[in-house]
Symmetry: C2
Subunit: 250 residues, 2 copies
């Protein structure tokens, strides 16, 4: 049946595929992924990466850890009651799998998302976790204002990076030694990948999958997600929209 | 400061805005939203809608309920152990706020997401909840294979609707009385809005926000999310990629 050949193949019903041949030729693509979580993260900053990764996990082994300060649920909600001026009831929670203290020692990739929290709060424990974990990683990925956490951790010093253009002044001020790049939908410098605002996470993770796990994997998952990728890192209309001064080279 | 004028405005720090003037001119935009959840939903099917809605909730009152069979955590995970052929550890959970039995009686908008579960499982209780709830709704939204649930509930009968092109044969077979449309990135018929695969949820929800809450809200949230919308419902390259025969008018 058609669904077993297409969507079905993504969720592991098919066995042989050109993708597997391609993957086997690659040297040890990373298996162990973690996400550093905190209250009032942005959901697409997280799931824009995890959704494609979910489908990748049926084509190669991916182990995922959601890591937070404690195992208590992590909430998406207004950061402060004062910010919730229309008295909305918009609150839901995700359950971490590990704490910063109990995180797997063999993490290879760490995602640091952003969110409104980064404009208000003090995520010192998350910053400390990123600082401690980075030296063991193969790759660090940030999305949106999550670059502000990595910048505070010092792991972006002297590296090219970008962040959400609507929060540019605030976030870049957290990393005076970072080579901030704008316009840029994403930036890659060494093993640090940073996406601009929220939905740019999708473009970055597809490029990451393509480069690290192979083009066949990326193309297949694009089909399932019906995503038309932006493939030009310099195509960033939001830098102009938010009057971000040009800096660096995308 | 720049952040307080831009990203800050989204999260409620600013008070007066042209958007609020526009919104006040509109007749009672919906306040009470629900999402019908089940195990192995697709995360962007859900959060592609909820992320823009989160920012909308700072500009007008939005009450959100996550509704499932029980209050037990709802898992994103491989649907079957057999499907997890690479022995990935990819499992995390979200906490519902209501059960199908305890759902608010005054829901105005219900989102029905899809996911791999729809290709394997039997979501009878979700189907029954959608059937029971639909008559009271102002709007029903489906994303991806979630159209298969609404189709089984009978609430799409004689309506134009679309679904994920990579799962077309399987999902459309669940609704023989639905006027399935392809190519189509989304379809709107009366109060039923259906998006095609996964990331098309973003294009649909931005159009919904624009039409129901106003263009200023949509434009503002697009900026925060750095999303470049697809605004042509007929622009659907995935119909051809997955050899879906043309039907209906997008």
């Amino acid at each position: 049946m058609k669904f077993s050949l297409v969507f079905g193949a993504i969720v592991g019903l098919a066995t042989a595929s050109p993708f597997l041949d391609e993957l086997e030729e690659r040297a040890t693509p990373p298996i162990n992924w973690g996400v550093a979580l905190f209250n009032s993260y942005d959901t697409i900053d997280v799931f824009g990466v995890l959704d494609p990764l979910f489908y990748l996990a049926f084509q190669t082994q991916i182990n995922l850890s959601l890591i937070a300060r404690t195992l208590d649920p992590v909430y998406v909600q207004p950061v402060t009651a004062a910010a919730n001026v229309y008295n909305s009831t918009f609150r839901f929670s995700l359950n971490p799998t590990h704490t910063f203290a109990s995180a797997p020692k063999d993490l290879e990739v760490l995602l640091v998302p952003g969110g409104p929290a980064l404009l208000f709060g003090n995520e010192t424990e998350t910053v400390n976790f990123v600082r401690k974990t980075y030296p063991k990683l193969k790759y660090l990925l940030t999305t949106c204002t999550g670059a502000g956490i990595a910048a505070q951790a010092g792991v972006m010093n002297d590296k090219r990076a970008t962040t959400n253009k609507s929060a540019w002044a605030r976030i870049t001020s957290l990393g005076p030694k970072v080579k901030w790049v704008s316009p840029a939908r994403w930036a890659v410098d060494g093993n640090v990948w940073s996406a601009s605002g929220v939905t740019s996470a999708l473009d970055m993770i597809f490029l990451f999958i393509e480069e690290v796990y192979g083009a066949a994997a990326a193309t297949r998952i694009e089909g399932t997600l019906e995503y038309v990728r932006k493939t030009d890192a310099c195509d960033d209309p939001f830098a102009a929209r938010f009057n971000v001064p040009p800096s660096g080279q995308c």
